[in-house]
């Protein structure tokens, strides 16, 4: 089985190389037979990589500890599901996962386009296979998942218990489905540039791919934040750690692209910009993969320095050189005839949306890489932490929130004052009203007020859009209001799905603001029976227990939360001591409601049962996760294409 897995990888490298060469040759010489052979090459390569991945899963499930990777990431007592998730628990396995996701995506892209875009597809095969070759080469020469030990251990070391947790198990695959997914749009962009087919056909080909990849990346990032919140015990969910930033940067640029592409589709403008956005998204995905494995920036996700760093840098350099070279070559053909006409227009607001997102991405990149840059320039490493990122990004996201409300409603080309009034009067009232109410209640400082006001503004615009569209349709088609609402949404899934996504973003913004600005915390050392107050709750420490469960030593404290004199709920923060692991794990106790989370960590105890606790009251955190669910639903809706009929009964703004 080890031999099967390893030789499958070797064979896949060969077939990927073959496919790469034949695809380019077939495109250059315009020989459909060669291109058809390349298409088969994609299928064969994918099949071989799947065999390699399946072999690894078999080795993990069957405790073959002679394989180094299995010994490092699994052990006999590990639950089967975590033996399988160990596939992405370590370096070599994660590379294998990257490759198999890439191959599955390539197969789907190849098969679904087998009768379409004939000028573009050869280049798509070539780019996908070239990327696959790189990742397979990493596994063959630098981090071999099938490497064997000179002896067979009786048991493995096991996966880090921090990773044996459902959210953590699916967080990497989600991220990979996102990162790797952006390879396909990039491949089509290269295809459009190389073949000269620079019209909107490549945009239509990649539309759903970009949305699907963005969908998974959004979920992956938020799941990572949720895991950090639940597992790590510092009361927060985002630390601006380099690895977190590595996943955020492609997301920012991909979001920018998802908006600017609409301008290109409607007005054939921003064509060079869109090319650069797609290239930048893919480059940032590779850069993120590089950042998390090279060890050049210190991070809590500590990956020790390895030989992989320079190899990634070379691959990234090749990618950028080829893609930017192609853009430079095609520059004359990419210039558009249409021009921006006014600051007050939809084109402009989308452009500002892009500008703001790109500046945010640049700020995050700058802050993350500054230690490396300053060391190269000055010999001294200078770093920045969360204060920098928050200081720069909070105003940026407020601006973005405003644009989220303005962009969808403002007129194309040049918005007249009557049209602006019609579009924005009610939402502005909602927004400013909210700010006034909060100001009177003396809730929060300027940033929080603006965020809540803008959130109300955006929600106001969305409600208004649904309301007006629904009413127009209901009267034109003589439908009931709910028939009209459903019909309206399904008729224009992209638009109304997009609105739902915006509402999801707003909910997340509200949750983030609430939990960061209004967080309170308290520390207390208590004997059994003593209490401490936080917010409107009184927490009474009951007792401390020690017991064993599934081979894990647990120290468990229980506290009862009183609201006034009523006991409301019990919280049980714990510490777990796992056999074979050097450090214990903190199990945070969280009681979550829509209004706030009560979050308690057990810091320590002594033989007399005196225990120290740190408690946080985090308002509105749950809205972050709810916002993600809304965003996900909106994205799923937007994934499906609309039939292109004339829009009867729906007002055009």
């Amino acid at each position: 089985m080890i031999a099967l897995g390893h030789s499958a990888l070797v064979a896949a490298f060969a077939t990927a190389a073959y496919t790469f060469a034949v695809a380019l040759l077939g495109a250059h010489r315009r020989q459909p037979a060669l291109v058809a052979s390349a298409r088969n090459g994609v299928y064969v390569t994918s099949g071989l990589v799947v065999i390699a991945a399946a072999s690894m899963l078999w080795l993990l499930a069957n405790d073959r500890f002679v394989v180094r990777y299995v010994a490092e990431n699994s052990r006999i007592a590990q639950p089967l599901i975590y033996k399988m998730s160990a596939l992405w628990g370590g370096m070599a396995g994660s590379l294998l996962l990257w490759t198999v996701v890439l191959c599955v995506y390539s197969t789907v892209a190849t098969w679904s386009n087998r009768r379409r875009h004939p000028e573009l597809m050869p280049y798509v095969y070539a780019v996908c296979m070239f990327t696959a070759m790189f990742f397979i080469a990493l596994q063959l020469f630098a981090a071999d998942p099938f490497e064997t030990l000179p002896f067979t251990p009786l048991d493995g070391r096991g996966l880090n218990p921090l990773l044996q947790n459902p959210a953590m198990a699916i967080h990497p695959p989600n991220l990979y489905l996102g990162f790797v997914g952006f390879t396909i749009p990039f491949a089509f962009a290269i295809g459009a540039l190389a073949s000269g087919r620079l019209d909107t056909s490549w945009l239509h080909a990649i539309r759903r791919w970009t949305i699907v990849a963005w969908f998974f990346l959004s979920i992956g990032i938020t799941l990572g934040a949720q895991w950090a919140y639940v597992e790590l015990g510092w009361g927060g969910y985002w630390g601006w750690d380099p690895v977190e930033n590595a996943s955020l940067m492609p997301w920012l640029v991909a979001t920018a692209y998802l908006h600017s592409v609409m301008i290109e589709e409607k007005k054939q403008m921003l064509r060079v910009w869109n090319m650069l956005m797609v290239i930048a998204t893919f480059a940032l995905c590779i850069f993120g993969t590089f950042l998390t494995r090279s060890g050049i920036v210190s991070s809590v996700h500590a990956f020790t320095t390895s030989t992989l760093g320079p190899l990634f840098a070379i691959f990234l350099a090749i990618i950028l050189a080829v893609s930017l070279g192609l853009v430079a070559w095609r520059l004359p053909d990419l210039r558009s005839a249409n021009q921006l006409e006014s600051v007050l227009s939809r084109e402009s607001s989308f452009l500002f949306n892009n500008l703001v997102l790109v500046v945010s991405c640049f700020a995050v990149l700058w802050g993350t890489m500054f230690p490396v840059i300053s060391e190269a320039v000055n010999g001294v490493k200078i770093t920045v932490g969360p204060p920098f990122f928050n200081r720069v990004n909070v105003p940026i996201f407020l601006l973005l929130l405003a644009l989220t409300g303005i962009g969808p409603l403002i007129a194309w080309r040049r918005a007249s004052w009557p049209s602006l009034r019609r579009a924005f009067v009610w939402p502005s009232i909602a927004g400013s009203g909210t700010m006034v109410v909060l100001l009177v209640m003396r809730v929060g400082g300027p940033y929080a007020l603006m965020c809540m006001g803008l959130s109300a503004f955006v929600v106001g615009t969305v409600v208004q859009e649904f309301w007006r569209g629904m009413r127009a349709r209901a009267s034109a088609n003589n439908e009931s209001w709910h028939q009209a609402l459903v019909g309206l949404t399904l008729r224009n899934k992209r638009r109304y799905g997009g609105y739902i996504i915006h509402v999801g973003i707003v909910l997340m913004a509200v949750g983030i603001t609430g939990s960061s600005v209004f967080q309170s915390e308290v520390e207390a050392t208590l004997r059994p029976g003593e209490t401490v107050d936080i917010g409107t709750y009184r927490l009474q420490y009951e007792e401390l227990n020690h017991f064993q469960t599934s081979g894990v030593d647990v120290s468990s404290a229980s506290l009862v939360a009183f609201d006034g004199d009523d006991p409301r709920f019990r919280l049980v923060p714990q510490r777990h001591f796992h056999p074979g692991q050097e450090n214990p794990t903190t199990e945070v106790a969280i009681w979550s409601s829509l209004r706030h989370d009560l979050y308690i960590v057990l810091a320590g105890w002594d033989a007399q049962q005196t225990a120290t606790f740190k408690a946080y009251l985090n308002p509105l955190v749950k809205w972050i996760w709810i916002g993600l669910a809304v965003l996900a639903l909106g994205t799923i809706l937007a994934m499906f294409p609309d039939r292109r009929h004339s829009q009867v009964g729906i007002a055009n703004y």
Binding site: Q339, L340, K381, G385, R391
Partner: protein, 149 residues
């Protein structure tokens, strides 16, 4: 370039410069030097009361947790042959154990003690380049010796 197009460009430049200003002042106000332990001890006098980020390994047996409140913590980090004592008030990460790679942010007091505001210790072994499986080797060898006649 028409007048209106110029307006768009100017607006974009204003937004970009405002954000650029934020980045520059943000960096200036929040940046800290990142040194290893030996680099710090080499320049102790110049680095007093300066925000620092220091990387080193936790010296075995030096992690102490206050008996009274379990939150006042101390440990010593070493690198390149020199050591720095660290104090911290709060819950240290689970990964802070003997020998762990630690990164500590804080200010160096006149007493040469690093008063930490943030402690990070490396998440063990996710993508470690080399792991020591020798303890399993002994078990494996012993097992083989038992089964062979």
């Amino acid at each position: 370039m028409g007048i209106r197009r110029k307006q768009v460009v100017i607006a974009a430049l204003i937004v970009a410069s405002a954000l650029g200003y934020l980045i520059v002042t943000g960096m200036r106000d929040t940046m800290m030097f990142y040194y290893t332990v030996s680099e710090v001890t080499a320049q102790l006098d110049t680095l007093s009361e300066v925000p620092l980020r220091v990387a080193g390994k936790v010296v075995a047996g030096t992690i102490q947790v206050s008996e009274s409140n379990h939150l006042d913590r101390q440990f010593v980090i070493q690198e390149g042959g020199t050591e720095i004592p660290v104090t911290y008030h709060g819950i240290t990460p689970d990964t802070l154990v003997d020998g762990a790679d630690a990164v500590v942010e804080g200010t160096l007091g006149a007493d040469g003690v690093l008063h930490a505001t943030f402690v990070m210790a490396k998440c063990p072994s996710k993508y470690a380049a080399e792991t020591d499986l020798s303890k399993y080797r002994e078990a494996g060898v012993a097992a083989r010796e038992q089964t062979s006649p």
